[in-house]
Symmetry: D2
Subunit: 265 residues, 4 copies
């Protein structure tokens, strides 16, 4: 349907994975199926405004970013773009509320099953968001990047936290250096909120908003940086981010109509 709409001159924001991949071979190896819309797919922009703002503004078709990739990439991008880490050391340990699994009636998502429990899934690079994350990481780094991505299901309704680990290329870097670099990187990104040193994000802070809260820590004992990002998977991780893309496509204020005040408690 997206191709027909684009052909008619509509601007299309696709929330599925159909137009997220730069390379349709990757898409097919993970999602299967044959694609008759290769030409139009090639015109799609990846719908993560903080990284592809200009391309989104000019595109007619957006493959809106997945929820896990949104949280993961916002945490990891400045490090890769600036070449600050040994990219092969990047590990993303992600945690999501159960609404990330959609509203289908699945036994494992029943309150009586999922409440008061916690577990990983798609371990070892088997989750479909892995190639989506890696293609953007590779694009930013300028060379192919493999990340270790492990999602976990958490007994709560909304929210994603990504805890990202990587080894610093330059062991002399301290937390404040990285905070400065991140703030510069997201200077023009109104929805990314960098937390002060020593403060780490709680998913509830982002609840109901289009914000992404990011905290940074450096462990001088291990030369590792730990970046933590929190989003609301149903807003910044889904519908809100689509609206943010729409604002860019229409030349409107990027923040138009998008909430920034958390629903608390």
């Amino acid at each position: 349907m997206a191709p027909a709409l684009v052909a008619k001159g509509c601007k299309v924001l696709d929330l599925s994975a159909d137009y997220r991949f730069f390379d349709l071979e990757t898409y097919q190896s993970w999602y299967g199926g044959d694609r008759a819309d290769r030409e139009i797919a090639a015109t799609a922009a990846y719908g993560l405004p903080e990284l592809y703002r200009d391309r989104i503004a000019e595109a007619s078709l957006i493959g809106c970013a997945g929820c896990y990739p949104t949280a993961s990439l916002l945490a990891l991008s400045p490090l890769l773009k600036q070449g600050l880490i040994l990219s092969e050391t990047a590990i993303i340990d992600a945690k999501s509320g159960t609404s990330g699994g959609g509203r289908q009636a699945k036994t494992n998502l029943l309150l009586a099953e999922a409440d008061n429990s916690l577990g990983p899934y798609g371990v070892g690079g088997r989750h479909r968001h892995t190639p989506e994350i890696e293609q953007v990481c590779s694009d930013l780094a300028g060379h192919e990047v493999r990340v270790q991505f492990t999602p976990h299901l958490i007994p709560m309704v909304r929210g994603i936290l990504a805890t990202v680990y990587a080894t610093l290329r330059d062991p002399g870097l301290v937390r404040e250096d990285l905070l400065t670099i991140y703030k510069a990187f997201y200077r023009s990104s109104p929805f990314v909120k960098m937390l002060p040193g020593g403060t780490y994000p709680q998913t509830k802070w982002a609840c109901g908003t289009n914000l992404c809260y990011i905290g940074i820590e450096v462990d001088p004992r291990t030369d590792r940086v730990i970046v933590m990002s929190a989003i609301d998977n149903l807003v910044k991780g889904q519908a809100g981010q689509a609206l943010q893309c729409l604002n860019l496509m229409m030349g409107w204020e990027e923040t138009l109509g998008l909430p920034t005040m958390g629903f608390y408690p």
Copy 2:
């Protein structure tokens, strides 16, 4: 009080951190205070039976292992003992229910604050369980080991999941090799349950039991092993494990009086 009791010939199981450290300097740098009980402290065994069964059996004083160290060390030990990983790559991303924080009335642990939210704390090696984990890792590896340990607070009552990442020394190892090694390592440990390939632990499975469920995955794309362990922080992570130690000290059956049937759902 422990010294006086030991002097009187009592067997003492201490649930605090007082007797967990092989080296009291480490204790003091994390917990402060002066120690007048150095002599007796030197006789204490570290209360993690799967690793120190013989020493526990002979000791009069046990420094019972912390909840996070229990989950983390049971996941990590076989890899370190057998030299299967590059030890400096070990990362422990741990998640705990709020009962791990004790029963004190703290605002951040109120249901209205902690429910439907998730966040890290003690990031960058700042949590007191870091040195406890590292001393045992070093003991097993035979050289000093630094791990990256990050705890997270999860909106549930009980349970800890540790997701452990490390790079394999020999990239040729596959999941089944590691499962075989783990099963051998825990051959005489009735409370460790190795999960079949492709199955990952949920904390609820261990709820109410003294068990530790362990799942293993290998990612051949990254040469990394991911080990996931789940325990009930109030049983295997605390009182249950103390009883397990007591059984060993008294020469009783190790499993005596300890539950292995999960409370589900």
Copy 3:
């Protein structure tokens, strides 16, 4: 299947509603269908041991009591049996965890839907447990009794609380009188725990046990008694109570194999 098993001499404990009704017309008007097993149905005992201990001991077929009826009837029975209340004033406001709805994948029982929400259903005597409660109430009172029964779905896994309201026939009765009467009524019922005056039951206290905790309050301003009962819907409200019936049928100790220690916290 139950008839065939009984015919073969088996003792049958049926957890469905099939054999709960003294009068099959009532069954059919609520559950529909035709019944070819009227003769055998007439021999069934209602599986609520505290009220029908002797009949259960002699029966070969038990229609095990529903979860809501168990909590409701244990709270209400002494009042009706002793004629202490105006029976037409009896109101049961019941609250249940979502496991009461079974393990089927229903959208409204998903964690993302049911968590952090609460609501009534089957209001106005429309829930199938209403006739089950009323037949026993009528049996105890010796005349037809109508009760107001309203179930509510609560965002938790296990537990039922029934808050029962009724107007006292004799306004001179005080809380202690009623406590004395209840204790006498349940003198031989090891699973009913009467709470001291001023203490009210929490469902968690019964969690994992076959117990029913009962608290009583009298409001002298309104001449009303309020009785509150808490059970674990999956134990006393289901499988545990079936075992309790089995113990009686076999002439075993009534408490055999049944837990009385709560799972806390």
Copy 4:
């Protein structure tokens, strides 16, 4: 402080119980203390706009209604005002999320204590909201009314559900009659949403809004009406309602700045 502010010409909205009572003797018998501000207290309006809109508009001092009284009175008022029930039969079984208890660190409100449990408190007319509810009921009915009010603590963050029971004076009344009466009663009340017959409120529907959802059922077998109301205790039950009062005091649109779109899921 309120008296000083009023004296200076400020409009004061007091969220405590200080100015909720028409009769200070009632206040003192429940809250204790001596009151030096009797004169100013006598000028206060009770801050429940749906019932005291005109008085609020003219007042300088508002004693904002409590959370339980708001839910209870909106459910019960039309019945009492129109004399449709036997007032002495009114029972309010109320259920509240734990944020209703405030943000103080109390052990019983810890997630590890309160989650997965449910219980009553203040049973038998002992909760401080009882006299507050009764004074308004009496005011509406034109004679002294006693209600049975029982609050329950529910394992969720926000929301109150009041399930109200009363015997109809005229047994011929059906659900649709009552729906018509309620709609007329709340004709000018933009925040009260009457649900269609057969639909009952879920607290989540009101979450984040200043709305009160009301559902009605009649049980012809018992001549009883059951009214169910759901609010967000932190909005309509607290700060939102204060703003609604402020709008009336200032002559602004009553709905100004107040959310009506629920936070879901």
